[in-house]
Amino acid sequence: LAKTTQPISMDSYEGQEVNITCSHNNIATNDYITWYQQFPSQGPRFIIQGYKTKVTNEVASLFIPADRKSSTLSLPRVSLSDTAVYYCLVGDVGGPGTALIFGKGTTLSVSS
């Protein structure tokens, strides 16, 4: 599995756009990039997944450059409820038998 590097923490204010970048220099051809969000006292929750270029859903956007050695999770107009830990995971999507290996994650703190 490719190792990922992301900032330990980030601070933002309500209404701002937040971009969290993840480095994964050793990403393999079959690897996908997936982001999870974890609130205190809850299990991680899937946010978004992509392979290349840009993916957007109702929660976030994921930008992946052509070399795929990094990716950026973009959260538009954050609110206090977006305060959480965000994990970048890189690996083969695989089947139902694939365990997720988590890195350290980025703690996002949103203030009013």
């Binding site: 996908y32 997936t34 006292s41 809850q42 299990g43 991680p44 929750r45 899937f46 997944q49 994990y87 999507v93 695989g94 089947g95 139902p96 038998g97 694939t98 365990a99 997720l100 290996i101 988590f102 890195g103 350290k104 994650g105």
Partner: protein
Amino acid sequence: SAVISQKPSRDICQRGTSLTIQCQVDSQVTMMFWYRQQPGQSLTLIATANQGSEATYESGFVIDKFPISRPNLTFSTLTVSNMSPEDSSIYLCSVGKQGLNTEAFFGQGTRLTVV
């Protein structure tokens, strides 16, 4: 999607005792995964539980300390044995992608405090 229920949600236990954590999934799944999350840390995979066979443990985790049962395709238990304060953590169960879903699903976790 998959809905996962974990019990208990939290417990305070005496050192030297054991606690069994239950994980119930609302659909049949092949693999279930158990994670530990120590205070302020990321998730660490403990073991993978396949129905009908012995669980596969990650480095640093052994069956005698963390026995796992997987009696059917919707249920698993993790026991934390002979607990010490160092076992104080959140324990989470998870299932992998289901059908066309690309995501994994997690239970709410069991917050264990050993005193």
